[in-house]
């Protein structure tokens, strides 16, 4: 009878967790959309997967490699939101179940409310796009492993030690850092009996000696790296170290569970109303603090860029205030403006800084810093250099990113296109096979591979033909700077609108007015009737600076742009002569600036030139 009642209670508890899980699934799928992490690996740290033998070999030769290999494969399913949601929820539920099982094994009774804490923690990490699938699976596996250990009835200390110490080594090898959560529970379990207290001590101190032993015996890595790997690596989107704090929190939680479980049970009258407390609090917290608005939009921008939905991207970007945009967002917005031919009209509406191009800005530091930064952003950069016609630059960037970030399909396919352009279809095949062997072939590499067999130059492929059409032919020395490359490619292909838009952005952001004036015959879209507004504003500044009219060719500066500029000068109260001084010392705001700060001119070139920033408040 008692057993039946226990089973009933357990069923009810599991049903509550299941309801909580259903709500969490809907929340993750509808409001979080984990597939955004797939399109933003630079931010979310979603790993790549390599189907080649060298990749597997590299994984299996490190601590925690088997778990990494599995989670890297599973992570590729993030391309499909429903699959990602289901996997995230399954792993969070597995962690909850693991806590429940381990606590029950240790206490000899159920401690049902405890499992909601790690469940919520997992959801909070997922809701903030911190891709820690390997850690979530690892925590669950470690908890189930320790619950098996706690349920083991063997009482002879020597036998327990002979089995458990090698098993701890094995668990550590398979899972790596996530195995730490099992340490306090195992130590509490062994510490309950006098005969196994020595073993308990050995297990409790295993995070100190086991990594050093493994490093010495089998995996020769720098010791500092071995200990550092006991905690997760930094995630791009995590500005506050939440990921590492979460891992430490899980260990602390293990200590807490152990301490609670080994205390003798206090007979208490059951209070059914409280049974819903933990699930309700979990759901409430999930909705209240489970996601961050800015992070959500940021990830959405990356996803829309990956899907080439430029209009949608610009609409989504308006949800962020200029001061909320970071380099990643700036880059995506500029990409969308360039693709839609709106650089000349809206560049300063979004307040984009020079770093939006991710290059050519001395503030980013020297060559090595720029290289590293571009490498970190490489998955995001994807194929933009290739689309700009800078084939060698694209190859350079893609090689660096493939080497340091891994074989993401988003890198492999453009790299294959580079190789086709260079007359190396066999190399392209190797890269396309790598992409096609990823779970589900998210980049659509298999059809390209088939097409390549019939046509080694993919001449009938419209994307490839477009890339060939705009390819830069002339070799110039450029020292990692984009401007000479864009000038070269636009001189070879004046009709290459994407490159012209990027060049315009560079000229405006870098205040290169002489160059802009020189490029006036080709820079604006010839299909336009009027000059883009920002070009007009730049030309007005040039007129003020040189004291003579700029030769405009077939173009004119609209009267409304002139009168707006005149209004600005009037608002500053400096007159045209005073304006010359202001424009000659860009980014050094005059005393009179207070009059126009936050003014209707904050989306103009001259405002940007004077203050070094722009943007319309939202």
């Amino acid at each position: 009878m008692s057993g039946g009642a226990d089973w009933g209670k357990r069923w009810q508890g599991d049903a509550r967790l299941a309801i909580c899980g259903v709500v969490a699934w809907v929340w993750l799928w509808r409001w979080v959309d984990p597939s955004r992490a797939y399109d933003n690996p630079s931010l979310s740290a979603l790993p790549s997967f390599g189907p080649d033998a060298m990749f597997a070999r590299a994984n299996w030769s490190v601590i925690g490699g088997p778990l990494q290999q599995a989670s890297e494969w599973l992570s590729q399913l993030w391309h499909w939101s429903a699959a990602a949601t289901t996997l995230l929820l399954a792993s969070a539920l597995a962690v909850a179940a693991g806590v429940d099982r381990a606590a029950s094994s240790l206490a000899g009774r159920r401690l049902p409310g405890l499992r909601y804490a790690p469940f919520l923690l997992c959801l909070l990490l997922d809701g903030h796009y911190m891709h820690l699938l390997d850690w979530q699976i690892g925590w669950a596996a470690a908890l189930f492993a320790v619950s098996a250990e706690l349920s083991w009835s063997e009482s002879r200390p020597a036998v327990r030690a002979a089995v458990l110490l090698p098993a701890a080594g094995l668990v550590y090898y398979v899972l790596g850092g996530p195995a730490l959560i099992a340490v306090p529970l195992a130590a509490f379990g062994e510490g309950r009996r006098r005969e196994t207290r020595l073993l308990a001590g050995a297990l409790a101190t295993s995070p100190l000696w086991l990594p050093a032993l493994a490093q010495r015996a089998a995996f020769d890595h720098p010791l500092a790296q071995v200990y550092e790997a006991l905690l997760p690596r930094a995630v791009g989107i995590d500005q506050y170290g939440v990921v590492r704090s979460a891992a430490l929190g899980m260990i602390a939680f293990g200590v807490l569970v152990g301490a609670v479980a080994v205390r003798p049970a206090q007979p208490r009258a059951p209070r059914p109303a409280l049974a819903w407390l933990a699930p309700v609090v979990t759901i409430a917290l999930m909705f209240a603090v489970g996601r961050d608005r800015v992070d959500c939009v940021r990830m959405q921008l990356g996803q829309l860029a990956a899907r080439r939905d430029w209009t949608g991207l610009l609409a989504a970007a308006k949800q962020l205030a200029p001061q909320e945009l970071i380099q990643f967002d700036d880059y995506h917005v500029l990409l969308a403006l360039a693709h839609t031919g709106q650089v000349g009209e809206r560049l300063f509406e979004f307040g984009l800084p020079t770093t939006s191009i991710l290059r050519d800005d001395p503030r980013l530091g020297g060559g090595e810093v720029v290289r590293r930064m571009r490498t970190q952003h490489g998955v995001m950069l994807r194929a933009v250099s290739l689309e700009l016609g800078l084939v060698n630059e694209a190859e350079h960037e893609l090689h660096e990113t493939l080497e340091t970030q891994g074989t993401y399909p988003a890198l492999l396919v453009p790299m294959a296109r580079v190789q086709i352009m260079k007359g190396r279809p066999e190399a392209a095949r190797v890269l396309l096979r790598l992409a096609a062997a990823q779970p589900g072939d998210p980049a659509g590499a298999a059809p390209l591979l088939r097409a390549l067999t019939a046509d080694p130059r993919l001449a009938s492929d419209p994307v490839q033909a477009g890339l060939e059409r705009n390819r830069m032919q002339g070799d110039v020395y450029y020292e990692q700077r984009l401007m000479p490359l864009l000038e070269q490619v636009t001189s070879e292909h004046p009709g290459h609108r994407l490159a012209q838009e990027y060049l315009l952005a560079l000229y405006l952001l870098d205040n290169q007015l002489d160059r802009l004036v020189a490029a006036l015959p080709t820079l604006p879209d010839p299909a336009r009737d009027t000059l883009p507004r920002h070009i007009e504003e730049a030309l007005l500044c040039q007129e003020v600076l040189t004291g003579r009219p700029v030769p405009l060719g077939r173009w004119t500066i609209r009267g409304e742009t002139r009168s707006r500029f005149d209004d600005y000068i009037r608002a500053l109260g400096c007159g045209r002569d005073g304006m010359v001084d202001y424009l000659r010392t860009p980014r050094r705001p005059p005393r009179a600036a207070a009059k126009v700060l936050g003014s209707p001119w904050s989306d103009t070139y001259y405002y940007y030139r004077m203050f070094g920033m722009a943007g319309v408040a939202r």
Binding site: P51, D52, A53, M54, A58, S61, R216, D220, H221, P222, Q225, R371, R372, T375, L390, V391, N392, E393, E395, H396, H399, E400, L402, E403, T404, T407, Q419, K422, G423, R424, E426, A427, R429, V430, L431, R433, L434, A437, M472, Q473, G474, D475, V476, Y477, Y478, E479, L485, Q488
Partner: protein, 506 residues
């Protein structure tokens, strides 16, 4: 129900499954039967085998028949025996033991490979492919570096040792052991027991590991390309200020050159470096040293430096730098150097001649020629060249491809040459083994064999600096890693003439 449960618990089902799997695996492969149509053309094979000379101890290559069909059958027949492979997929494998027996019993003899393909229920036989087995074996081990076609940043570069009689590839040392890069390795007399290994790490600094059996001594001085004197007491290394830049257009994006370089002599006894003006004049660039087997001549590549000091990148005239093949006499008794002389003038031929490697009998010199500079792997027109040192005449090298061929090395018996080539795809460098006969002819090469024909399908790594060794490396990866990270590395400064040219990037 109980009976079913009993069957499961007694383990009957696992046994049944195991038996079925064994029976499936024992199912005989398809064999030609009925009428066979003759086709006059040779089959397309991967790796290519036409005219190839196999080493009698080489492992069987996984073979792909690139001909459409539903079943494939291949026989390799010699005067003494034959071996066959068949399957319902194009990728076939010969049984290793039968392969080894066939090669061993047909040493120095011809072999014929015949391919049959089933299409629409009938078998087609392709024109036979002729190949042969050499009498002389290849050295058992091959040590090389494996890396992706990286530019500046490296995640994990490794030195590996491959047993050529099988497929086992063992890690000698990986870059991740120091969070850096492992590069030039130089063996004494082709022995894995004694060698030096260059290591570069931003955390632990540059090191040279001096390995002797299981003893590893770290020196606080990175080195470049090297060659041990046959007596094992000294070695000569290059010390290069390597720089890289990028072309905005053209086939090869990377360009690498030595801003300055010189040669330095390492004394293994005193663990110190020295040089001589003939090997380190500041107006010249020196690289790729190689000792003649008698130890009385050092070969190297030298070019006139066309730019002043400083860090101009690219320096003026970098694409006009042509290396000459040089040699200089050396007296092992007193350590005296002679005068350097030009063996082959790159300046005259408007080609750059680098990477001299002398055959173990001292008669042949294999080198690489490219249009300029000293990094032939980045020059698509790089080719192997051969000189008969006895007559001084250049010999034809028929195995060159229209893509980069370089990084060559001789086997200890002088009958085999391994080299790296981009011929397969233009991007990923692979290794090829070519037989060198007594008349000085290189025969069509064999791609480094792998157990599976699809091994290279997704292999996006490149091989470089292959070196044959007769005995395996005894020091473990752990020993090498610990030595590379050691704080107790012995200082071994370069001579002042070369101190500015400490290896900087590889």
């Amino acid at each position: 129900m109980n009976r079913l449960r009993g069957l499961l618990t007694r383990g009957v089902w696992p046994s049944v499954v195991a038996i079925v799997l064994v029976l499936i695996s024992m199912r005989p492969g398809p064999r030609p039967s009925g009428p066979v149509t003759e086709l006059g053309q040779a089959p397309r094979l991967m790796p290519a085998l036409e005219g190839v000379v196999l080493a009698p101890n080489i492992a069987a290559p996984g073979l792909r028949v690139n001909e459409p069909g539903t079943a494939w059958y291949v026989t390799l027949r010699g005067a003494r025996g034959q071996v066959a492979a068949s399957g319902r997929r194009q990728d076939l494998r010969f049984a290793p033991r039968l392969w080894q027996r066939l090669l061993a019993t047909n040493r120095g003899a011809k072999l014929t490979l015949t391919v049959y393909v089933r299409r629409g229920g009938t078998w087609t036989r392709y024109a036979p492919v002729d190949l042969s087995v050499a009498a002389e074996p290849v050295d058992r081990y091959l040590v090389y570096r494996l890396l992706t076609p990286l530019y500046n940043l490296a995640r994990d570069v490794g030195i590996y040792e491959r047993d050529l009689t099988g497929y086992r590839e063992r890690v000698v040392m990986r870059g991740r052991q120091t969070g850096g890069c492992v590069n030039c390795h130089s063996f004494w007399q082709g022995s894995g027991q004694r060698f030096t290994l260059g290591v570069r790490s931003s955390t632990f600094g540059g090191r040279t590991l001096l390995v002797n059996g299981r003893s590893v001594v770290p020196l606080k001085q990175p080195i470049g390309y090297g060659s041990w004197h046959p007596d094992g007491r000294i070695a000569v290394y290059s010390s290069n200020q390597v720089r890289q830049f990028f072309h905005a257009a053209g086939e090869e994006t990377r360009d690498v050159f030595d801003l300055s370089s010189g040669l330095t002599v390492f004394d293994a006894g005193t663990r110190s470096f020295s040089t001589t003006p003939e090997l380190s004049a500041p107006d010249y660039l020196y690289t790729y040293p190689c000792w003649a087997p008698d130890g009385k001549t050092l070969y190297f590549a030298r070019a006139r430096r066309t730019w002043p000091g400083g860090e101009l990148i690219p320096p003026p005239g970098y694409d006009q730098v042509r290396y000459n093949l040089m040699r200089i006499a050396y007296d092992p008794c007193n350590g005296a150097w002679g005068k350097a002389e030009v063996l082959l003038s790159g300046e005259t031929a408007k080609r750059s001649y680098v990477f001299p490697r002398v055959s173990p009998d001292g008669r042949w010199l294999l080198y690489t020629a490219c249009d300029y500079g000293c990094f032939p792997i980045h020059r698509p027109n790089s080719d192997l060249g051969l000189i008969d040192l006895r007559s001084g005449q250049a010999q034809p090298v028929p195995i060159n491809s229209d893509r980069a061929d370089t990084w060559h090395s001789w086997s200890s018996n002088g009958r085999w040459v391994v080299f790296a080539s981009k011929r397969a795809d233009g991007l990923f460098t692979k290794l090829y083994l070519s037989y060198f006969d007594t008349d000085g002819r290189l025969h069509p090469p064999l791609l480094l064999p792998q157990s599976r024909a699809d091994y290279y399908d997704m292999f996006w790594h490149s091989y470089n600096v292959p070196e044959f060794v007769t005995q395996p490396v005894r020091a473990s990866a752990g020993q090498l890693g610990r030595a590379a990270r050691s704080r107790h590395a012995a200082p071994a400064p370069l001579p002042p003439e070369l101190a500015q040219q400490a290896p900087s990037m590889r």
